[in-house]
Each structure stands twice: as structure tokens, then as C-alpha cells.
Amino acid sequence: MSGTFVGMPAFPKAAHEAVRNTTLRDNLRHATHTIRDKRARAVAELEDWERLREAGRRIKDHTLRHLDRYLVQLEESVTAAGGTVHWAADADEANRIVTRLVAETGESEVVKVKSMATQEIGLNEALEAAGMRAYETDLAELIVQLGHDRPSHILVPAIHRNRGEIRDIFRAQMGSWGRPAPDGLSDTPAELAEAARLHLREKFLRAKVGVSGANFMVAQTGTLVVVESEGNGRMCLTLPETLISVVGIEKIVPRWQDLEVFLQTLPRSSTAERMNPYTSMWTGTADTDGPRTFHLVLLDNGRTDALADEVGRQALRCIRCSACLNVCPVYERAGGHAYGSVYPGPIGAILSPQLRGTASEIDASLPYASSLCGACYEVCPVAIDIPEVLVHLRERVVQGGEVTRNGVKVRLRPARGHAAERAAMRATRWAFTHPGVLAGGQRLASRTRRFHPRSAPGPGRAWTATRDLPRVPAEPFRDWWRRTDGGKAGTGKGGAK
């Protein structure tokens, strides 16, 4: 994935710094609470929501099980409609392809629709290295780009910025990228949006090359779909002469009809609207309407590694709505940057370690960036059981085992730093498989309970820094059960009647 995040500290350290930033916490709390309430109302309007959710899950699962077939079918459909299909195994290959395609047009600047895939591969940085400039045109992406910042939310990448900060960024930076901010720019959202309109208009009108991602690709027809709000997507998709779309291979749906599910669930889950303002659908090229040349770059970049994991592959159902971020108590407090990836929040915690592997400190810590409360699973419009995958990935981090990296099966070694946990689990397993030892240990613990410390020693200290150790009862449960015949023999110390 993108080099932007190389060297990120582990989640707990990054989060520790973020939670002390009160502006950030206020911004995030305000934004996530607003959107989560609106989403709940939008979803409640559809009495068949659970059926739509189930249909979405099944369409995506079916597609993933036949992904090779549908990819080939999509390639045929797009080609027949006048497009050209390219395949990229990783970020470098995708960046090389796009850079070459832009160079072939003779242009040195591109306008971009907001796209997670191009952020994931660090396309802007790759183009810059080749002497080309990529202009982000989504308002939030523009704020991030002008502020030399990193995105912190899938849908609203500048969610960590409040209006005053945005005004300051526009005033200071717009001039060096093009049309400067209007004099006397205030911090009202309407004026800030107007400033962005004026700043970007000249770029849209002269653009020759557009770069996008896509929300969906229909294998049957070769149709690509981009869902958006501002109209910057429509500008980039229709005004340039050349359009290059970089799309993850998991974005396929088999048939045209399948869109009827996701076009109902995605807008309500992401922006909490019945329908987002603009949705563009295009199939290859049209004679006089829109770009004459269309390139589709199909991106793997770790997706097939996730596909090889039968528990983890459900993360590939994700339609990037960001509902799971907005309800997550950990995201709300830690913010998006702590996740060290363009995919923050609960979905990021299961996607990043699968796309990038768990070798780095940040990726090994991400499966732990959750309290496993399950709110993310409840709101997910394709029913990804995020807690299940988190636990699965924790197991992988602690125990190691066989995984697929870059298409090759490798055996992962247990992570360092979890030795005490493994030792404790080994001891527990031994005790639980030796009933005599367990009973003896429990009685010993009961008899010595007056001497137990309130916090755990050694590596357990961090755990008890914010919790009390549970008190050991005066009598082990099994002794009480035997003595009172399961509570029937009158009141015992356990208090049963």
C-alpha cells in the first residue's frame, strides 16, 4: 500500500497521542454522532433492510467464489464496449501503468475523482515523481491535499478538520495550486464550498485526463458506476478526453440487476441519504459523449491474499460506505490517522493487515484496535462480521500459521511481544485438561485470596492499569456445587436458596 504510512507507530501509541488532541476529539464526536443518527433514520425507512443486506452479502460472496470467471467476463464486456483493460498485481505495477497511460496522452496533469484505490497505491506520489500533477477534486480530498495532510475517514477524509482550520488552509494554500481563495473568505461551509467551486472550475474546464476509481463494475455489461455528491465526479468522468479508472478486483458484481441492491444500501449507509446527488454509469466509450479513450486498471495489491483466507475474505465484500467508522467507539476517540492506513476504523483494522500482511508494528496491532462491541457488524450493509475477522487475525498474530502473501503461501512466525500471552494460554490449556490440577489450583487460590494483589505483576501490569483484577471467591464454584447439590441442599456460602 501507499508509502505515506511507512513507519507508523503501533495503534496504541498513535491513538494515545490522538486522544489527547481535544479539537480532534470534538470534531470527530460531533461528526460521527450527526451521521450515525441520520443513517439510522434513512435505514428505518426501508422495511426490507435486512433482506437487502442479506442479498448484498450473497451477491458479493457468490462473486468472490467465481471471481476469476467474472473478471474475465468483465474484461470481455469492457473491451467490447471500446475500453482497454489492464491488470496490476501490486501498487507499483498499477502506478507504472497509469503513469505510462498519462505520459502517452502528452499531458502532465490529471483531475481526480475521490478514490480509495488510488490512495491505497499512492498514485499521486507516483505521478509527482514522474513530473505529473494530480489534482484532487473532492472537497474533502482537496482539503487534505492542500493541507499536506492524510485522510482520516473513508467518506469524509477531512473529518478531523473543523471549518476554521479549513478556512485557514484555503487562505494559505489555494494560491500555490491555482486560483487563490477569495478575499475575506469566512468559515461558513457555504462560502468554503464556493471557494472550492471557483478554485477547481478552471481545472475541470481545461482537463484532458481524468483518473477515477469505481464503486461497482458489472461483469455482464462492462458498466462502471461512480457514486458521488458534489459533481466533481461527473466533471472528471465526462469532460476529459481520456479516462483512467483504477479499481480493486473485488468491486465486481455479476449482473446489471445486482445494482438494485447496492444503490439502495450504499447511499443510506454512507451519507444517510435516500440517494446521493449524482451517480454516473458508463459502459466503455460513447461516440460523442464523454472521454474518447477509456482505460480500466484492475488492481490486486493484496486482495487475492485476503481471498485465500476463508474467514478473512469477507472483508472483500466491503462497499466502502464507512458506516462502521461512524458507530465505532474506538474510531470516535482515536481518529482515523491512528490506524496508519487509508482504510481507518473497524473495516481498516481487518482490511489493512490482510492487504499488507502483519509484519509491521502497526499492522500487527490493528486487529487489537477494537473492543469487539459488534456495532460495526450491526450497521454493515453487506454483513461483514468484523469482530469475527478481528479475532481470527489476532489468533494469526499471536500463533502465526499459514497465510498467503503476494500470492505465495508462507508460514508466519508468532509475533514477538505476545510470548507472555502464549505462555499463559499454554498453562491454562494444561490446567483445563488436568481436572485435579485445576481443582487444586482453585482451592489454593481461594485460601490465599487475602494476599492477592489488586494489580497483576510483570507483563500483566498494563492490563490492570485500567482494570481491577477480579476477586477470587472464598469457595470454588465446583466445590460449592458438590457441597450443596447444585443449590438444592439449602443455603450455602454461595447464597443459593
Binding site: R69, S229, G231, N232, M275, A286, D289, G290
Partner: protein, 217 residues
């Protein structure tokens, strides 16, 4: 090895070998969800469309096809806007615009984005309108024109023939549309919620969307 071979090879290994033809599509996918939400008469469906369009800040007008009512209404809307020029797609029905009014600009294949940017308003028809979501869909037919003409000008008047062009739901709309045409789904004027998730109408697309529901008189 080409990127294609690498990616397809990885997919097949991940699945434990090349996958079987997807003949289980129909049984795998449970379409137990509704084709439309709630029961409504035709008139109620049109009413819902008007409500939902207005809810997302489109300005809704109604008229009948008789007595040149539509042409006069469109002229009035253009005049109120102060439009001096109005863009028209290749085959807008003649009576949608009365002869007086702003200068008509005909979109041509060679019209550049900058030329379109100088036009004040655009008038088009649509392919279908969706009541439950307050959405109009354009498919580039001759009364709608290229996608860019409804994008660059700041004022869009869209005429919907009711009840013929109105459906209740997203599934019904998709089954009416042709995927080979370039499609634009429009639900209200452009908007953003990128600043503190506070909704602002009007960013890059037309900042004013007026929808005229015209019924056969």
C-alpha cells in the same frame, strides 16, 4: 508473465483452483427484498416523487400539456432566473420552449466545456424518475443530450412526463434503463457534507435544479 496471468493465477490459487461456471447465481442470491416499498396509487407515487425531490432541495413545478402551459412555465422559470442563454439538447420537443425568451444555444459535438460554461441554463427531458428516492435519470437520448450539458451550466430545468416516466423504486428504474447508454442519476442539486458533515447545496454541478412534472392534460 503478464499482470493478467499473475492476478488470475492468484485468484485461482486462492479459490483452490479455477472456479466452476457460476450456474448457481440464481440459487445463491436471495431476492426476497421488495420490488417497491408500500402500496400507492399512481397519483400518490407522483406525489411522493414531488415530496422527495423537494426534500433534497430541487424546486418542483407542475403543469399540464394543454394550451402551451409547459412552454410558458419554462419561459417564466428562465426569466425569473435572468437567463440570457439556454442550452438545448439535439431534439427538445418544440413546444417545451415558447418562441420568446433567452437565446437558444445548440449543443454540438465540438462544443467545449468553456463554451458550455458561458451558458446560463439548460432544459432537458429525462429517461425515468424514481419516487422513493426523488431521483431523475438521464440516458443521453435526443431530448437530454450529452452528459456535460446538464453539468456545466449552473441552472438545470428537467421536464418529467407524469405518470409515464415515473416509477416507485430503484429496482423498477434499473429494469427500464439501458446499461449501454451513459447514465446520470440526479437527486437534487449537487451537495457536499465534507465540512463537519454539514450539508451545503451547490458545489460543482448545477446549483439550482428545477423539475417540471408535466401531466397529459
Amino acid at each position: 508473465m503478464s499482470g493478467r496471468d499473475v492476478v488470475l493465477g492468484r485468484v485461482r490459487r486462492a479459490l483452490g483452483g479455477p472456479s466452476a461456471p457460476p450456474t448457481t447465481y440464481d440459487t445463491d442470491i436471495d431476492r426476497g427484498y421488495l420490488r417497491e416499498h408500500g402500496e400507492r396509487t399512481v397519483a400518490q407515487t407522483v406525489e411522493l416523487l414531488a415530496e422527495n425531490l423537494a426534500d433534497y432541495r430541487a424546486v418542483v413545478h407542475r403543469c399540464t400539456h394543454t394550451d402551451d402551459e409547459l412552454g410558458l412555465l419554462v419561459m417564466r422559470l428562465l426569466a425569473e432566473r435572468g437567463a440570457r442563454t439556454v442550452l438545448v439538447p439535439p431534439a427538445l420537443p418544440a413546444h417545451w420552449l415558447s418562441s420568446a425568451g433567452p437565446t437558444r444555444v445548440h449543443d454540438q459535438a465540438v462544443s467545449t466545456a468553456r463554451q458550455l460554461d458561458r451558458v446560463d441554463s439548460v432544459v432537458t427531458g429525462c429517461a425515468v424518475a424514481i419516487a422513493e428516492t426523488g431521483t431523475i435519470v438521464l440516458d443521453g437520448s435526443a431530448d437530454q443530450g450529452r452528459r456535460r450539458i446538464t453539468l456545466v451550466p449552473d441552472h438545470h430545468i428537467c421536464v418529467v412526463r407524469v405518470p409515464d416516466q415515473v416509477v416507485s423504486s430503484v429496482p423498477q428504474a434499473l429494469s427500464r434503463l439501458d446499461p449501454t447508454r451513459p447514465l446520470t442519476w440526479i437527486s437534487g442539486p449537487s451537495a457536499t457534507s465534507d465540512i463537519e458533515l454539514d450539508r451545503v447545496e451547490g458545489v460543482h454541478g448545477p446549483r439550482t435544479l428545477e423539475v417540471v412534472l408535466v401531466s397529459e392534460g
